[in-house]
Point group: C2
Chain length 278, copies 2
């Protein structure tokens, strides 16, 4: 267990694709790749220069590290099939919303390594820039996972338990999946106005860049934060269906957030006045 130098990758999807290559780059030795889709397993195995498997029944090899990087619902099933080969290994899943307890009482050494990033096989990505969150079932596995994390990312890895990781994953859904859907809605609306989506890119870039300098509450602009009722009513009249629902609950939430901040500032000012009086 002290020498985590070989790994087996269960899964060949977006996360497995990028994680396994980052591991290889950090001198971890790939033993095999499994995917139920043969072509996917073969594509990743070719890149890693190791064996490909499309059935878990054929696997006889073991490794120091078994990464399970399949969809959430399939983790328990694939684990059952590999646990005999992995009983002396460290078993690790990579899911944000699955508890570490999925392995509890079933094997000795297990944990989670969650990369906070949106991966696409089609896109190159600098894995050293991915923040990693780890959890082990005991101090030794946690320490081993921190060590793996340090070897593949320049970000300082963070120990995070399953409950907090679930909440962070939910935050990532808002920051990535929902923002991306906002882009999709914008693209559809631009189509209706005959303007290319490319025209929107400087705005999208700047909105993103602002997060590095200003808090999102501070950076908020537009009709909802100003509570510009005329513009909002006019914009609602241009929408229907799902986009109208999004417009309404987003605008309400932006307005409520702005009021909370205003109240907080008022309270601060009041308290400052009180303390000045005293």
């Amino acid at each position: 267990m002290n020498q985590c130098k070989t790994f087996f990758m269960i899964g060949a999807g977006n996360v497995a694709w990028h994680l396994s290559q980052a591991l290889k780059k950090a001198n971890y030795i790939p033993i095999g790749v499994y995917s139920r889709h043969k072509t996917k397993a073969e594509a990743l195995a070719e890149v890693l220069n190791c064996r490909a498997f499309d059935s878990l029944d054929n696997i006889i090899e073991s490794a120091n590290l078994f990464f399970i990087s399949v969809k959430d619902d399939a983790i328990a099933d694939v684990f059952e099939k590999i646990r005999i080969h992995a009983k002396h290994s460290l078993i690790v899943h990579t899911a944000g919303s699955v508890s570490i307890d999925i392995f509890k009482d079933k094997t000795d050494n297990y944990g989670v390594l969650y990369p906070l990033q949106s991966f696409s096989i089609k896109r190159k990505l600098d894995f050293s820039n991915v923040p990693l969150f780890v959890e082990g079932n005991n101090a030794e596995t946690t320490s081993l996972l921190l060590n793996v994390a340090e070897n593949i990312s320049r970000h300082k890895a963070t120990i995070l338990d399953s409950e907090h990781r679930k909440k962070m994953h939910l935050a990532a859904v808002f920051a990535s999946n929902f923002t991306n859907h906002c882009y999709a809605c914008a693209k559809q609306l631009l189509n209706e106005s005959g303007v290319s989506f490319d025209a929107m890119l400087p705005l999208i870039d700047e909105t993103c860049r602002k997060t590095h300098d200003l808090s999102p509450e501070e950076a908020q602009t537009g009709p909802a934060v100003r509570y510009d009722k005329n513009v909002m009513a006019m914009q609602e009249s241009m929408l229907q269906g799902a986009k109208l629902d999004i417009y309404r609950c987003m605008s309400r939430s932006i307005h409520e957030t702005a009021i909370k901040i205003e109240d907080k500032n008022d309270k601060l000012r009041f308290e400052q006045n009180q303390s000045t009086r005293i």
Copy 2:
């Protein structure tokens, strides 16, 4: 009218701040700045090296170009007060959702110059990277506005009428204001998990960068596009109030969009099969 070389800026807010400096940089001569907030008018006037006004009654100067860059509801009022000084000028507002007709039958030469960007006084911004959309009340004013646009931005300016501009502004609300609010929601959820917002920045950056290479529909990841009911139910149970509403309508809209794309692909495959058979 042929020589649009002097300008007067009505407003000293986010747009006025950046636009007037871009104009000066392109050798337009600032005559004055008006804001009802004296300090704001003075701050911008100092940068531009021109006179500051906090009352429209004092203005006697004129300029080739009058830019009205105040909040939507105030455009008509400030125009009434300056029209006498601006009767031989080109009057331009900069609002996405206000029709050019706000000036109709009230002056001879008028138009709109709409910069598609989210401006903050606090942030430096390369104005030459801002896409500009113009509309004039006749061919001459349109041509003059195109010329101004060419001088201040390296993007090719686009002629766009008021109805299409309104739709584009709505698209910008989705792509900028709503994505920014998603960041704000993520930040609040991260606070609950004890993780710093900084950890989310590589994910936010990558989600933004993807828009340059993939269509947002293609780039979509996460539980909603996979329609992962277990994760979605679990995540809903962690939310309440406005964030729960956003989660629900966003997830439904992401799923509906994915189905539409799937249907379209199915239809394409069917049609390809049909044509192969023929």
